[in-house]
């Protein structure tokens, strides 16, 4: 299979019979126990995608619960301040879950209901996934377990409190680096032992193929809205459009881009921004922009931070949500086909971007999208005024208030 993107087919469906994109990324490298539950989920999902009542229900919740569409706004002050390209933000965080995670959580809970499962479980890094699943599960009457690294529990306390308020059980994960990677492992272990009654939700476009697909299917709502909004604002899709998105696992970036992948890259450029870690440290969470080797983690083959033996490497980022050693097979595929470009921003650059954006504009991006803003801020002055830089502001900063206060000395919501 060649490394070529086919037009007119969603990227999530461009895998082969082994669940691999370009014959190279993704797959189902899972313990035998999970083969059957995964196969059941594949069958159910492919049926539901064609089921009008399912789609109607999904759209009902997207509109009436998430509040679709989330706003697309021009950042006039930031544009004036930087001089150069126009800056726009799709404020995806303007929803009750304050992050893009809400889409996949709704879709997963709808699937769990149809599968007759009463329990859902998930992993969380920054706590956005945990908070959203807790919130949506409560709405749908499902019991919810959230796996979260102890280190993340400490640095994202605000979200932990919210998860508990929604009635979810938060399971602290003390193994390994005590961050997202360990939370995902522990969640998968829990599913191995309880797959008969529990529906597992993976927080991003990572994991076995079906989870990549469901996550991407759900977040695609973002670019469907964006396409309409851009046409409303500009009369058509702008001639020079750049879509910037932070990339951890990569679910918000895929959702932000999916409708635009078929456009010529000279017209619509896709730029993913990974977490470069602290500028004084060699550690990072940016496998794509650092040319990490292919590896197998959490059931999928993808570029992965690891040592020569194949032990998963340590990562570092101020943003828990991007602090993951691997990345979606979809983004590996987009990188190798040349359709998207990937770069990284450091902790310091993200903090400075947060500072500037929240000072000049009425939005307050969390540390994750602040990475994308950092790249946008450095690009904008070099670009012409007819270039449209659009950033996915996929999370709200409130969860980061303690970190921001500590680093910058103040926090404004």
């Amino acid at each position: 299979m060649s490394l070529k993107i086919r037009k007119g087919i969603p990227l999530i469906d461009q895998h082969d019979k082994n669940g691999m994109w370009g014959g190279k990324f993704g797959g189902n490298f899972v313990p035998e126990t999970l083969k059957k539950p995964i196969e059941d989920l594949e069958k159910l999902f492919s049926k539901l995608r064609k089921d009008k009542s399912f789609i109607k229900e999904r759209d009902y919740y997207f509109e009436n619960y998430v509040g679709a569409p989330t706003p697309l706004i021009k950042l006039d002050n930031l544009t004036d301040h930087l001089g150069g390209a126009q800056l726009w933000a799709k404020v995806v965080s303007e929803n009750p879950g304050t992050a893009h995670k809400v889409y996949a959580c709704i879709v997963h809970c709808l699937i769990a209901k149809r599968a007759g499962k009463r329990y859902v479980c998930t992993d969380t890094g920054a706590g956005m996934q945990g908070k959203n699943l807790a919130m949506v599960a409560k709405k749908f009457g499902l019991k919810c377990k959230i796996f979260m690294g102890i280190r993340d529990i400490k640095r994202q306390q605000k979200n932990v409190i919210v998860m508990k308020k929604y009635g979810a059980e938060v399971i602290p994960v003390s193994s390994g680096s005590q961050t997202l990677v360990d939370a995902v492992s522990e969640c998968m272990r829990y599913w191995v032992a309880n797959c008969e009654n529990v529906h597992m939700v993976i927080g991003s476009t990572v994991g076995p193929t079906i989870f990549v697909k469901i996550s991407g299917y759900s977040t695609s709502q973002i670019s469907r809205e964006l396409k309409v909004q851009l046409k409303e604002e500009f009369g058509k899709i702008p001639k020079k459009l750049k879509l910037l998105n932070c990339v951890g696992g990569g679910s918000s970036a895929y959702g932000f881009w999916s409708e635009f992948i078929d456009y010529d890259k000279k017209q619509v450029e896709l730029i993913g921004v990974e977490a470069g870690g602290s500028k004084n440290s060699k550690l990072h969470a940016a496998p794509l922009s650092n040319n990490s080797k292919l590896g197998i983690l959490h059931g999928a083959k993808a570029y992965c931070i690891q040592d020569s033996d194949g032990q998963i490497g340590e990562t570092e980022s101020l943003s828990s949500g991007l602090d993951y050693p691997s990345v979606s097979p979809l983004h590996c595929f987009l990188k190798d086909t040349g359709r998207a470009k990937y770069t990284s921003a450091t902790d310091e650059e993200a903090l400075n971007a947060y500072k500037l954006v929240s000072k000049l504009e009425n939005i307050s991006p969390s540390l994750e999208p602040s990475h994308a803003f950092a790249t946008a801020i450095s690009l904008a002055p070099k670009l012409s005024k007819d270039t449209v830089l659009c950033i996915d502001s996929c999370g709200h900063s409130l969860k980061d208030s303690e970190i921001i206060k500590e680093k910058l000395g103040f926090y404004t919501e």
């Binding site: 490298f29 035998e32 083969k35 360990d182 272990r189 080797k293 197998i296 690891q306 194949g310 032990q311």
Partner: protein, 266 residues
């Protein structure tokens, strides 16, 4: 020519008892001690499973995770696993050793290179936890070419149709996961239920050596002794952790535990 694994099962059958398979992690608690451990317990164990530890073991419970982390922290490298087997096989020439681990380690080492080294040091079989059927077909063929058994797993969730296909593609031994759990979980099913499931699988191909693993301890092993083989892993890893905590020698502790397990199934 019959493999060491096959011969071992045949011998156990003649003695009318199941084969005892032990699982410990290479380089746990360190390289030297882990060699001493398997050399010592091989007096009572029929087949030695040696894990190559991975930092992200999604199929393993707390005990094996702790052992794996300890080994990695003590500097485990893939070549150490081969060196341990090499030294072990110089003492126990005919005792089968099975290497067990996660696919990323084999993938990074290179499948061919991995198998070349397995052959060189005398590894009899390989278990790869996260390389299920049909994804494993290519690698399984490579194993077969080198006369190394690729050992597949069956789970309580595996459908009958799938079991047939897996058994058809299997080599000397198949591993039945007793229950829905990671390794080392408490036995959720009664031994009778586990054996009922076991017999259903056996009926598909009675000649295939089928072992049961997951949740087997000194308390449960006796009730499962009609199986072809029984794997004890987490209990041994736990014994290592406990003896280190108490300042005892894990080698002598494990020797006693495996002796005790062996007596339970005679």
């Amino acid at each position: 020519m019959k493999s060491e694994i096959q011969l071992t099962f045949e011998e156990c059958k003649r003695k009318n008892r199941p084969a005892l398979l032990t699982y410990t992690v290479a380089s746990d608690p360190n390289k030297k001690k882990s060699l001493q451990i398997i050399t010592s317990i091989a007096k009572y164990a029929d087949i030695i499973e040696l894990g190559f530890p991975h930092s992200t073991p999604v199929g393993d419970g707390g005990q094996i995770q702790t052992s794996s982390n300890r080994a990695i922290k003590n500097g485990f490298k893939m070549r150490d696993a081969f060196q341990i087997v090499n030294k072990f096989k110089k003492i126990y020439k005919n005792k089968p050793v099975i290497l067990m681990g996660y696919y990323n380690m084999i993938y990074q080492y290179g499948e061919n290179n991995f198998l070349k080294n397995c052959k060189k040091v005398g590894v009899s079989g390989v278990i790869c936890v996260d390389l299920p059927w049909p994804e494993n077909q290519k690698f399984a063929k490579k194993c077969k070419k080198k006369s190394i058994s690729f050992i597949q797993l069956l789970a309580p969730t595996t459908t009958k149709d799938r079991i047939k296909k897996i058994i058809k593609d299997s080599h000397d031994m198949v591993y039945y996961i007793s229950m829905l759990s990671t390794t080392g979980g408490k036995l959720k099913l009664s031994p009778k239920r586990i054996l009922d499931n076991y017999k259903k699988i056996k009926r598909i191909n009675p000649k295939k050596n089928l072992v049961i693993g997951f949740g087997i301890t000194d308390k449960t092993i006796k009730s499962l002794k009609t199986a072809d083989g029984l794997v004890v892993g987490s209990m041994l890893c736990k014994t290592i952790s406990n003896s280190l905590r108490m300042g005892q020698n894990p080698v002598t502790k494990l020797d006693k535990v495996v002796y005790y397990l062996r007596n339970k199934i005679l």
